[in-house]
Symmetry: C2
Subunit: 478 residues, 2 copies
């Protein structure tokens, strides 16, 4: 048992040091490993399998709305990156430059894509001619590179995996509708699949995407009270279209510029899953996204009939669920600790006495609740437990978020709250970037979003006291 205990002890507790807890979990749950390439990570099978499930489920939702997948080049020639002024200013300082191909210097340097607006625009300028060619609703799954100085697995790395949707529309209204549609899709996905509740809102001008007219965002609250931007959807208006000359002949036979959007979600979501649901025993995966939903763990497996029955149960459950059997030669305590560390939503404990009694014990990963189920009702019962767990994980995350969402009317209240109560702070804002800057400097909190659901907390800006224009969610962020 010494070894088993050690496995659990090896994780730092969340309360003691949340950052170290996070690092411990990503390592011990075998999600990622560091690589010899500074700032880049190796995503191991347990981590990549989560990403595969995210891809599969998100992609299916995309396709229901008419999204088609494509693939654009990995490189962006310097001259292409420079075509849209705000965009290049935002991204040029953080890209990796290829200057040599084969044995020769390139005549024009190319960067590895940090995002592909410029490539899609370049393509659309050649591909779109008539209103019949619209809308274009394209997406790609790929990796992108941003030369970050400080990196953390999943949350911020020099390379990450994502999807980036890029659309072109005939009218401003249609582009705005698509921008909103995708943000709603992201929010539903987070809540329904990842059990992560999110605040939907609009970024301030200071925080919006380089080149966008509007950026919409979903913001989630992590267990430590910090905010995580979990997905964004941008409306570009016709700014990129004008920079790249993307015009079409409309039904009325006049040349018009298209209106564009882009939207993305990344492997960051895995970081969000860890930090919203994890506990001091490790990862806790929501059943709908868990690569393995059930681990069958035999007890006293050397005894006659135990392994056979365990395998029979695995096989039966595998008809409708993602199940594994741990038949290794480790002790049950070790297997439990391992299953918990990896966040597998439920385990089924099965020993000789259970077999004699004709039942097995289902143990929930999140609450440790034990549910005894007769063999002939096991499959049904496990499915029910997984459903309940999925729902309760969302409810718990929502309750945690709500309990850590504060309001501030005066600046003193605001500073006091930031300093003492980790979480979101709702406060009114005058719309001036100067106040955002001041708040950031003095408290390290940033404006997360102007939520779609506005509330009227007071008439004046929490920072400067001038007339308020909007309520903003503020918070310290990853």
């Amino acid at each position: 048992m010494a070894k088993e205990k050690k496995m659990v002890e090896a994780i730092t507790s969340m309360e003691q040091d949340f950052a170290q807890w996070y690092t411990d979990v990503v390592k011990k749950a075998e999600l990622v490993d560091y690589s010899s390439v500074k700032g880049c990570m190796v995503i191991k099978p347990a981590g990549y399998a989560i990403w595969e499930n995210i891809q599969k489920k998100l992609d299916a939702r995309f396709k229901e709305t008419g999204v088609e997948n494509v693939y654009m080049p990995i490189f962006i020639p310097e001259s292409l990156l420079q075509k849209e002024k705000d965009h290049v200013e935002g991204f040029a300082p953080e890209v990796a430059w290829v200057t040599k191909g084969g044995l020769n210097e390139l005549t024009e340097p190319m960067c590895v894509r940090p995002t592909s607006e410029t490539l899609f625009c370049d393509f659309y300028a050649r591909d779109i001619h008539s209103y019949r060619d619209l809308p274009r609703v394209y997406n790609q799954w790929c990796s992108v590179v941003r030369w970050e100085k400080e990196t953390r697995p999943f949350l911020r790395s020099r390379e990450f995996l994502w999807q980036e949707g890029h659309t072109a529309h005939a009218t401003a209204q249609e582009a705005e509708e698509r921008t909103v549609q995708m943000l709603n899709l992201y929010a539903d996905f987070c809540e329904e699949v990842l059990a992560i509740p999110v605040i939907k809102g609009k970024k301030t001008d200071k925080e919006k995407f380089a080149g966008a007219e509007e950026t919409y965002t979903i913001e989630a609250l992590m267990h430590d009270g910090k905010a995580l931007q979990s997905g964004t959807s941008h409306n570009f208006g016709d700014g990129f279209a004008k920079a790249f000359g993307i015009q079409f002949t409309d039904k009325d036979n006049t040349l018009k510029y298209v209106h564009q959007t882009s939207w993305g979600m990344t492997t960051r979501l895995i970081g969000a899953i860890i930090m919203v649901h994890g506990d001091d025993s490790g990862l806790v995966l929501p059943p709908r996204i868990a690569p393995t939903q059930v681990m069958v763990i035999p007890i006293a497996q050397h005894k006659e009939g135990v392994l056979e029955k365990a395998e029979e149960i695995r096989k039966e459950l595998a008809k409708t669920l993602r199940v594994k059997l741990d038949a290794s030669d480790k002790g049950p305590g070790f297997k439990f600790a391992e299953q918990e560390m990896r966040g597998i939503p439920v385990r089924i404990e099965l020993g000789p006495k259970d077999i004699e009694a004709g039942h097995a014990v289902i143990v929930r990963r999140d609450t440790r609740e034990k549910i005894t189920a007769e063999f002939d009702q096991l499959a049904e019962k496990v499915a029910e437990v997984l459903d309940t767990m999925q729902k309760e994980m969302l409810e718990r995350a929502r309750a945690h978020r709500d309990a850590h969402t504060y309001e501030a009317v005066t600046y003193d209240e605001f500073k006091e709250t930031v300093a003492t109560k980790p979480g979101f702070i709702k406060a009114m804002w005058c719309g001036d970037e100067a106040c955002e800057n001041k708040i950031k400097e003095e408290t390290t909190a940033t404006s997360r979003c102007m939520p779609w659901k506005q509330e009227h907390l007071s008439d004046t800006c929490v920072c400067c006291g001038r007339k308020a224009k909007a309520m903003v969610y503020w918070g310290k962020a990853y």
Copy 2:
């Protein structure tokens, strides 16, 4: 009809100019477009959907054999690439180098991965300690970059999409078994899913992968008689393990080096599908891989009940097949031409007279055979036609390959055959690279592989007349 005729006329005929026909098909079937990034392509929805199906079906086959997916960094530091001597010699001349990150010069240049052996080895050296950690059977889906001078869509481009499997085993025998297993898996996939028959064999030392002990290959014959290497599987022995120090403690408590393999298939396969099955009307997709298997095309769709019945049929077939309805305002002739150009395996023609008669007409893309089917048997009949078509496409490709496979015993015969009969040439070889070089120089044919199914054609090398060691498939290759 003028416009419809023009659409078909716009493709060059295969007989007239095969290379131009290929270019026409990839463009007109909307598979790819050229990009502003020299040598890189844009894969459009119709092309990417084929790749998605390849991924889905190949990945499922991988997983049945225990493969787990992971993701390694996109960059390889120069010092890592240089660790295995043969490997760096093979790849260094054709990689893209990143020399600047953000605003700073890098202290060590990194290349964009041309293949990831070095990254996997670097990871395995840290990750593998004990025989309990073996085997490692990892794979990744990603893009790679090779600085090619001459490029053609799908066949040779500076960036392409692929999967690369990298495994580590306790014994040489197990590594060899995995190498062979994956080549067989590739061959079965090509035949069963893509309807492309392949020759399985071993590469000569001259043609094998940089750093491999053995390279196995599957070679397919295109319609123009040129060979296309369609998938490779490499056994590295313990060469990389020694260069990277990948050791494990075996059951007998001694330190041993692992034995490794790697294997890959790429977007090249889409080129193979085009060149094996296409015709002068465009692409012909095997039903199992076709993103859309059936196009329902209404005739006189303005007449009452036609569109409704067409939609009813689409809906019914969609329960089991991938179906679309072309309800656009183009004429039927144009729709037929478009469906044929895009290679959709069957179309269903449906006009007022058909509706009156209670049937529809199924038209096969490959043979143009028309099959009339009663409405209540339509779904069953379409499925049957697709099955038959899949089988016959493979048979036809095999017959074509066999009819274009020749034997040569003397060098004069060999030269005559290369010059006049496009196809594979089977001929004996002494095993000396000098003969391979001579044949390549004098005929442009290269050794494709030493097939697993050896035949004895004569006692002597077709080139030098010395004692023969193996029968080789020779051919001009893409």
